[in-house]
């Protein structure tokens, strides 16, 4: 084996070794790398009960209830399979609206209601002008076909 070939093999082995080790580490920490749990995870009991965690999903249309005296709100988060009610008191981000994906940080109460300490809006990867969005919405309403697309 020439010295050059030896160096090629060394570099390839180095990369394979690093790649393999990284893959194993990421696999071991897979749950920790998940930024949020879905309502289905909570329903299946995968979410931690004692400590705080994050929940992500779509704000169900028509589920947002504001307390007129304070900043307290309740809304229902859905992943199109399961639903979880979230309670929050604080300022909501600009992109928060019904039908929008959000991530909330907090604890699951004994009554199954998620007590959020922080609410973040999750933006999707779609960009379009307002007129296109309006005409899309008009078409959707005319056909009344659910898109079934998750954020």
């Amino acid at each position: 084996m020439t010295p050059r070939r030896k160096r090629i093999v060394t570099v390839i082995l180095l990369l394979l070794g690093m790649g393999g080790a990284t893959a194993l580490i990421l696999k071991a920490f897979n749950q920790n790398l998940m930024y949020f749990y879905s309502p289905s995870d909570i329903h299946e009991g995968k979410a931690p009960s004692a400590r705080s965690f994050r929940i992500g999903g779509l704000v169900l249309k028509g589920s947002l209830k504001r307390n007129p005296q304070s900043l307290a709100v309740t809304f229902v988060l859905s992943d199109l399979k399961q639903e979880t009610t979230v309670r929050y008191a604080g300022i909501l981000p600009d992109l928060f609206r019904e039908g929008q994906g959000i991530v909330a940080n907090g604890k699951l109460g004994a009554d199954g209601v998620f007590e959020a300490a922080e609410v973040l809006a999750k933006h999707d990867e779609k960009y379009m002008p307002p007129e296109v969005a309006a005409s899309l919405k008009a078409n959707l309403n005319a056909n009344a076909t659910p898109t079934g697309k998750t954020p």
Binding site: Y35, P93, Y127
Partner: protein, 247 residues
């Protein structure tokens, strides 16, 4: 073909080539920057949800793309210097590192500025943001190694090993939004599906990406020329160049 490759691997010829290419690259890049900024900031319509704030993608997306592209260039050059002992590999890796680090920092800063109004937070430790921050640390680690080790050859070899090992992070950054649930949104432009961005918003993005790309090449070539002159400063050709009034 092999002799051809050898010719451009020689520092003197690469220096000549780089010197000839640089003004063209900067020129075309400048024209594209003007076209991209006008079409992106003035002509493109506002987004249906984010309003005018979405326009930061015209800086954020090209910087994020180049932060990864520059790393692959740096790691490739470093691998070439490790395997074939070509001096040009070392020169290109050293020239690329600070440029890549700058684009990484720019991507992180613009993302953070956008994140505050849109997400409601400057920073979250999700997989995409964390792996991009790791990329910045890889660049800084490479740069720190280069300045910490006095012996040029030892510095090149240590830096090259770090650069090659760190390339593992690139697919992690790219696929982080698919493998794990993240706050960062998924890819808008993918190879196989139609882009989920309106054409009037996409065209400025493509122009800006091309402008950034050419700017990157031009800057790397300028830096590589400095590295070459420093590396070959005791040779006759550099002396001739300087006595001929360079630059």
């Amino acid at each position: 073909m092999f002799t051809h490759w050898h010719k451009y691997a020689s520092l003197m010829h690469f220096h000549t080539l780089a010197r000839r290419l640089t003004p063209w690259l900067y020129g075309v890049s400048g024209v594209l920057f003007i076209a991209g900024l006008i079409s992106g900031l003035v002509l493109a319509p506002p987004d249906y949800q984010q309003g005018e704030s979405f326009r930061i993608i015209y800086v954020h997306v090209p910087s994020a793309w180049l932060s990864m592209f520059a790393y692959v260039v740096m790691a490739g050059a470093a691998a070439a210097s490790l395997i074939w002992r070509v001096k040009l590999g070392d020169v290109l890796a050293r020239a690329t590192a600070p440029v890549g680090a700058s684009f990484t920092a720019l991507a992180l800063i613009t993302g953070s500025l956008w994140g505050k109004p849109m997400w409601g937070t400057w920073w979250v430790w999700d997989a995409r943001l964390t792996s991009e921050l790791l990329l910045l640390f890889l660049y800084l680690g490479y740069l720190a190694l280069q300045s910490a080790i006095e012996d040029r050859r030892a510095a090149a070899r240590a830096g090259a090993v770090l650069a090659v090992v760190g390339v593992v992070n690139i697919p992690i950054i790219h696929y982080s939004v698919e493998w794990w649930s993240t706050l960062h949104q998924g890819a808008t432009l993918t190879k196989f599906a139609a882009p989920s961005i309106a054409t009037s918003m996409l065209i400025p993005l493509l122009i800006m990406t091309a402008a950034f790309q050419l700017f990157f090449f031009a800057t790397v070539l300028v830096r590589a020329r400095c590295e070459i002159l420093e590396f070959d400063r005791h040779t006759q050709w550099v002396r001739n160049l300087v006595s001929a009034g360079y630059p």
